[in-house]
C-alpha cells in the first residue's frame, strides 16, 4: 500500500537540507570542471582565484571543433561521439539482455553447478585489467578485432555481464514467485510469464544495471586506449587524452571535451532513470 507517512515539517526540512549539502558536495568538483570549459585559461588557475568566470568564452569548444582561425585542425569529435554512443549503447543493451537471462536463471532455477557458476562469474571480474590487457590484445589482433567497435563491444560485454547477472538475480528474487505462477496458470509459457510479468516488475533493477553498465562503458579508458586506435573506434575518453601532449595538458580544452562527454551521458541517464520506480511489486500478494 502506498501509504503516505506522517512526516513533521522539520523532518522534511532537515532532509532537504541534508540532501542539499550532499548534492552540493557531489556537484561542486564536477561543476568546477564544467565552468572551466567556459573560461579562458588565465582564469583557470589564477592567483588570486577567479571563482565566477569573468570572461566566459566558447573558445575552448571552438578549438575542439577547429573553428578558431589559429587551429584549422579540430578533433574528430563527431567520430568519437558516434563510436562512444554505438559501443556503449550496444554493449549496454546486449549486456542487459544477456545478463538478465543469466540473472533469471540464477534466481528461478535449481541446477547442477549453480554455485560454481555464480562464483565463476564473480571471479571473472577479479582479473585485473593489466593481466587481461596484453593477452586480450594479442587475441583480438589475431581475430582482427583491434580498433573495431565490435571488439570494444565484446569487451564491455564481458565487463558488464557479470554484475548485470548479480544485480538482476537480486531483483528477480524480490518478485514473488507466485506472480509467475499465476501467469503460467493463466496460460503463459515460462517465457511469456517472464516478459509480461517478471520483466516489467524488475524494471528498477534493470534500469540501475543499465545506467551502471552504460556509464561504465561510456567512461572506460584503459582498455579503450589499448584496443582502439583511430576514428574507427576511438571513444570520447580516449579522445580526452588528445589534449595531453608530451609536456602539456590543455586543461581548458579537456574540460570542454569533458562537457561534451558528460552531456549525452546526463541525458541518457535522465531518460533511463525514470524507470526507477518504487513499489512495483506492492499489492501483488498477501502475506
Amino acid at each position: 500500500m502506498s501509504a503516505r507517512m506522517i512526516e513533521q515539517p522539520w523532518q522534511r526540512w532537515a532532509i532537504r537540507f541534508a540532501l542539499f549539502v550532499a548534492l552540493a558536495i557531489l556537484c561542486i568538483p564536477g561543476l568546477w570542471v564544467v565552468l572551466t570549459a567556459f573560461r579562458p585559461n588565465v582564469e583557470i588557475m589564477a592567483r588570486p582565484p577567479v571563482w565566477i568566470p569573468q570572461h566566459p568564452t566558447l573558445d575552448n569548444f571552438r578549438r575542439i571543433f577547429g573553428l578558431l582561425p589559429a587551429e584549422q585542425q579540430g578533433l574528430p569529435v563527431a567520430d568519437y561521439f558516434r563510436n562512444s554512443l554505438v559501443i556503449s549503447v550496444t554493449s549496454t543493451i546486449i549486456a542487459i539482455l544477456v545478463g538478465m537471462m543469466g540473472g533469471y536463471a540464477f534466481a528461478r532455477f535449481r541446477f547442477r553447478g549453480k554455485k560454481a557458476m555464480f562464483l565463476g562469474f564473480m571471479l571473472s571480474r577479479t582479473v585485473p585489467g593489466i593481466a587481461l590487457s596484453l593477452p586480450l590484445f594479442i587475441v583480438w589482433s589475431r581475430l582482427g578485432l583491434i580498433d573495431t567497435k565490435i571488439g570494444m563491444i565484446v569487451i564491455y560485454l564481458a565487463i558488464n555481464i557479470p554484475f548485470t547477472i548479480w544485480l538482476t538475480d537480486g531483483f528477480f528474487r524480490q518478485i514473488p514467485v507466485d506472480l509467475s505462477d499465476a501467469a503460467q496458470i493463466d496460460g503463459c509459457t515460462r517465457w511469456q510469464a517472464f516478459w509480461k510479468i517478471e520483466f516489467p516488475l524488475a524494471r528498477s533493477g534493470l534500469a540501475s544495471a543499465a545506467i551502471f553498465a552504460f556509464l561504465t562503458s561510456w567512461n572506460e579508458y584503459a582498455l579503450a586506449a589499448q584496443i582502439t586506435r583511430t576514428t574507427n573506434a576511438k571513444t570520447m575518453p580516449v579522445g580526452l587524452m588528445d589534449f595531453t601532449a608530451q609536456f602539456t595538458v590543455d586543461w581548458a580544452g579537456m574540460s570542454a571535451m569533458a562537457v561534451l562527454i558528460i552531456i549525452p551521458a546526463l541525458i541518457l541517464t535522465f531518460i533511463v532513470q525514470k524507470h526507477l520506480i518504487a513499489g512495483l511489486t506492492f499489492g501483488g500478494v498477501k502475506g
Binding site: 578533433l75 594479442i138 589499448q226 588528445d242
Partner: protein, 417 residues
C-alpha cells in the same frame, strides 16, 4: 625541392602521435598524397605514452602492419630493430639540412632509426614583473651585492629562487617531481656538475659526488620553500600553469610554452616573459637534456620508399616552418634563421628572441642514455629522488639505493661490461 616519387594507388599505413599540438602538421598530408598519388591511412593516433604502449603491444603480438610510426628519442632504443636505419635510404645531402646534433641524437647504436621532427630542450623563462621590479631589485642588491638578473649558474639560480619566494603567491620556481621529468631534470644537473648517469661500462654513476650535489640542489630549494611543496607531484603542465598564473618567478622549461606564456587568453604574464639560457653547473657546462619527436619506418614495411618519402615530406622545409611558426623547435638549421626573421618581420620579437635563445642551447644538448632500459632505470630513480627531496632519506642514501637497483637492471639486461 626534393622529389617525393610516385606511388599511385598505394596506401601508406601510419601511426602518429595525436593531440592538438601535433596534429596541425597532419594538415599537410593531403598535399603529400596529391604529390605522390598515394593514400595515407592513419591507423592510430594517440598521445605519447599510449602510443608507446601500443607499439610495444604490436611488437608483442607480432602485428606490425604499418609503415611509419611517430617516435621519440627517449623511446626509440626500446624498440630494438622494429625500425630501419634511414641512412641508406635518404640522400646524404638531404640529411645535411638537419641540425647535426639533433640528427646524431636520433641514432641508436649508430643506426638512424628516426627522422627528427621537432626538438626539445629547456631554457629559462622569467617573469619580468619580478625581475624588473625596482623594489625587489634593490633588496636583492642590498642582500647579495649583485644585480638581480636571470641566473647564469645553478648556484645563482638557487640563491635567487630562495630569495624571491614569497609563498603562497609567489614561488621561486617549480620542477617536475615525478616520472621521467624528475629523472631528466636531475640528469641535467648531474651532467652540468660534470657527472653522468653511467660510465662507459654502463655502471650507474649518478651517486657520484656530482650526483649527490645535484640532488642536494633540489633538496635545498625544496626545503627552503622556494618551490611549491606539491612540486614533487607536478608534471610539465602543472608547472606551465603555475608560471602562466604568475606564481613562479623563473622557470626552466620547454620551448613549447613560449607561445602559451605570451598568450593573453591563457597567461597572466603575457608580455612580461623574458628568456635566458639554462644555467651552468659546477663544471661550467650546461646539462642540456634534449629529445626529439620523430618519424620512423618499420622493417616490416612493404613500401619503404613511400614511407621514407612521407617522413621526409613531413619534415621538409615547409613542414618545419609550420612547426616552428607554432612555436616548436624545428630540426632543420635553415628554418631557425628563417622563422626568427619571419617573426621579427611581423613584429613578434618575443618569439624571435625565443628561437634565438633556444638555438644556442641546442649545441650542448644531450639525450638521455639511448638504451632500452632507460625508462626502467628512470622508474627506480625518481621515487628515490622524491624520497630525498621530501626529506625521507639523505641524498646519498637515496642515490645509492637507486644506483644499486639500476645496477641490477643493467646486469639483468646484460649491458654491464
Amino acid at each position: 625541392q626534393e622529389g617525393y616519387g610516385k606511388f599511385d594507388g598505394y596506401t601508406l599505413k601510419v601511426k602518429l602521435i595525436g593531440g592538438t599540438q601535433y596534429e596541425k602538421l597532419y594538415t599537410r598530408i593531403p598535399e603529400w598524397e596529391k604529390l605522390t598519388g598515394a593514400k595515407v591511412d592513419i591507423v592510430s593516433s594517440k598521445n605519447h605514452f599510449d602510443l608507446d604502449r601500443e607499439i610495444k603491444q604490436d611488437i608483442a603480438s607480432g602485428s606490425i602492419s604499418w609503415c611509419v610510426g611517430s617516435n621519440h628519442t627517449s623511446f626509440a632504443p626500446q624498440y630494438g630493430d622494429l625500425y630501419v636505419d634511414l641512412k641508406p635510404l635518404i640522400p646524404a645531402e638531404t640529411l645535411a639540412d638537419y641540425v647535426p646534433a639533433t640528427l646524431k641524437a636520433s641514432e641508436v647504436d649508430g643506426r638512424l632509426v628516426q627522422l627528427p621532427r621537432v626538438t626539445d630542450v629547456s631554457n629559462l623563462y622569467y617573469n619580468k614583473d619580478v625581475y624588473e621590479n625596482p623594489d625587489i631589485k634593490a633588496k636583492y642588491k642590498a642582500k647579495f651585492g649583485t644585480d638581480l638578473a636571470p641566473p647564469k649558474t645553478y648556484d645563482e639560480y638557487k640563491q635567487q629562487v630562495i630569495f624571491l619566494a614569497n609563498p603562497p603567491n609567489l614561488y621561486g620556481t617549480a620542477f617536475p617531481g615525478k616520472d621521467e621529468g624528475m629523472t631528466g631534470r636531475f640528469m641535467e644537473l648531474v651532467r652540468a656538475n660534470g657527472g653522468d648517469m653511467f660510465d662507459d661500462k654502463w655502471n650507474p654513476t649518478f651517486n657520484s659526488p656530482a650526483g649527490v650535489a645535484a640532488l642536494q640542489w633540489f633538496v635545498d630549494i625544496y626545503k627552503a620553500g622556494a618551490v611549491p611543496a606539491g612540486t614533487v607531484n607536478y608534471t610539465w603542465d602543472d608547472i606551465g600553469q603555475a608560471m602562466a598564473a604568475g606564481t613562479l618567478a623563473i622557470d626552466l622549461d620547454w620551448p613549447g610554452f613560449a607561445a602559451f606564456f605570451n598568450d593573453q587568453a591563457s597567461s597572466k604574464i603575457a608580455g612580461k616573459v623574458g628568456f635566458a639560457l639554462a644555467p651552468v653547473g659546477s663544471s661550467g657546462k650546461r646539462g642540456g637534456w634534449s629529445g626529439s619527436h620523430s618519424f620512423s619506418v618499420t622493417q616490416a614495411c612493404d613500401n619503404k620508399k613511400a614511407a621514407v618519402s612521407f617522413i621526409t615530406f613531413m619534415t621538409n622545409y615547409d613542414s618545419e616552418m609550420m612547426e616552428a611558426r607554432a612555436g616548436n623547435l624545428p630540426t632543420r638549421t635553415k628554418v631557425f634563421a628563417d622563422v626568427e626573421k619571419e617573426f621579427r618581420d611581423k613584429g613578434n620579437t618575443y618569439m624571435a628572441e625565443m628561437f634565438g635563445t633556444w638555438e644556442k642551447s641546442l649545441e650542448t644538448a644531450r639525450t638521455p642514455p639511448l638504451i632500452p632500459q632507460w625508462i626502467e632505470v628512470s622508474n627506480v630513480l625518481w621515487p628515490q629522488l622524491q624520497a630525498a627531496i621530501v626529506g625521507q632519506k639523505t641524498p646519498k642514501e637515496a642515490l645509492d639505493k637507486a644506483a644499486s637497483d639500476a645496477h641490477d637492471i643493467m646486469e639483468d639486461a646484460g649491458l654491464l661490461k
